[in-house]
Symmetry: C2
Subunit: 242 residues, 2 copies
């Protein structure tokens, strides 16, 4: 690795390998399409993504706040020094990784609820899809159980959407008056319990366990028991559609 002031000025990286220098020069020498990311840009994006993926795995393993930068760069298979080319601190990386997973999860739910308008039904579909993550998206499920209720501290992603849905349901008179933040904690606790069960005792986990809890959560929110039972057994969009 050599210091490379020319690249440093361009804000690329303070220390780069000869290979990176060559790639940068080649990318600059032959800009076949200026709107297309250069090979260096793509390489940087891959390294950044490797760090984010490593952070997601560490959060999933419940080590989100204990892993060292050394451990993170080893898991991402990149040099220790490269870390600071992409993130200023461990906290920044973990916040970025959380935001990315939560956003992916939120978008999945938005797609599944695309044609649903009743707030209680939106909530039911969201919860029933999230409860199925244990087998539809095991990596995301491990991320959720590894995060625990710390999940709700995120300002982007699912917590704000869930709060918005609870408040919309209360405004529409579908849900009882209940402190929305507190209700959300109970909902998140139930979801984490489901996903843990799926990890620790997969033999006890079936779709109807998820739907039973969805029904119970709807009752908690104030949906009458009969209506909660109906909403929790409606067909949900097929997995390919979310």
């Amino acid at each position: 690795m050599i210091p490379c002031p020319a690249l440093q000025v361009r804000g690329v990286t303070p220390t780069v390998s000869m290979r990176e220098v060559k790639e940068a020069l080649m990318a600059n020498a032959a800009p076949s399409d200026p709107t297309r990311p250069s090979r260096l840009d793509r390489r940087k994006a891959r390294t950044r993504q490797a760090l984010i993926d490593a952070a997601v795995e560490l959060i999933a393993a419940g080590r989100g706040d204990r892993a060292s930068i050394q451990e993170i760069t080893e898991a991402a298979d990149i040099g220790f020094g490269s870390f600071y080319n992409h993130f200023q601190s461990k906290d920044e990386l973990f916040a970025t990784a959380s935001a990315e997973v939560l956003e992916r999860w939120g978008q999945m739910i938005d797609r599944a609820c695309g044609e649903v308008f009743d707030p209680a039904e939106v909530f039911a579909v969201s919860f029933r899809i999230s409860g199925r993550l244990g087998w539809t998206h095991p990596g995301m499920a491990r991320f959720i159980t590894g995060s625990g209720l710390g999940l709700l501290d995120a300002r982007t992603g699912l917590a704000p959407r869930a709060l918005r849905d609870i408040r919309a349901g209360q405004k529409a008179g579908c849900f009882a008056a209940l402190d929305a933040d507190v209700a959300l904690c109970a909902v998140a606790g139930g979801l984490i319990g489901l996903l843990r069960l799926c990890q620790d005792h997969p033999e006890r986990m079936h779709e109807h366990v998820v739907d039973q809890l969805a029904e119970a959560i709807l009752r908690l929110l104030g949906v009458p028991a009969g209506e909660a039972a109906r909403l929790a057994t409606l067909p949900i969009p097929e997995q390919g559609r979310w």
Copy 2:
């Protein structure tokens, strides 16, 4: 500090201060009442308790799994080396500290429910008292929010009691069939949400917020809405009785 083989053989402590040696000799020289703990025993018990209290504070601050032994002994105001006279590892100390707080909490609930026999009412009283910890026992409340759902991993204390109560309610037909572990996660999530609200926004916290969530949790467990509302507004035993 000097190594003291005589005391080591007796399993007292591998390194002791001169003061401890003197106290031990005095305690042995004049055993006025052999059933009464000697001054050394009392001193050891105090040091042990100081370590447990420090661990409880660190868990409450959300640092239960990150604090170093150095940090723990500094918080307990004892010498670093004394740690290993009382606990073999940090994990052992934290497990002991958790068990102690959970047991205290469990006994408080048992006292409050002494004259209640209906399983749904037992659950209601337990939850309503626990939700009031934010102002009746702020230290215990901080311990609960600091532990998060990790609280449920404890084999002693409240989690097994709560599971027992949920199963008793299901057996008696008061509660719906629902995976009890999953239901417990939702209950714990709701309780943690309440106690966090009390810490972060004390101005939003009132007894009726606790009772509203107790009512919602009873509905979640399958208690009919009208009965849940009744149980959540019954008088609860006065604080002096638990």
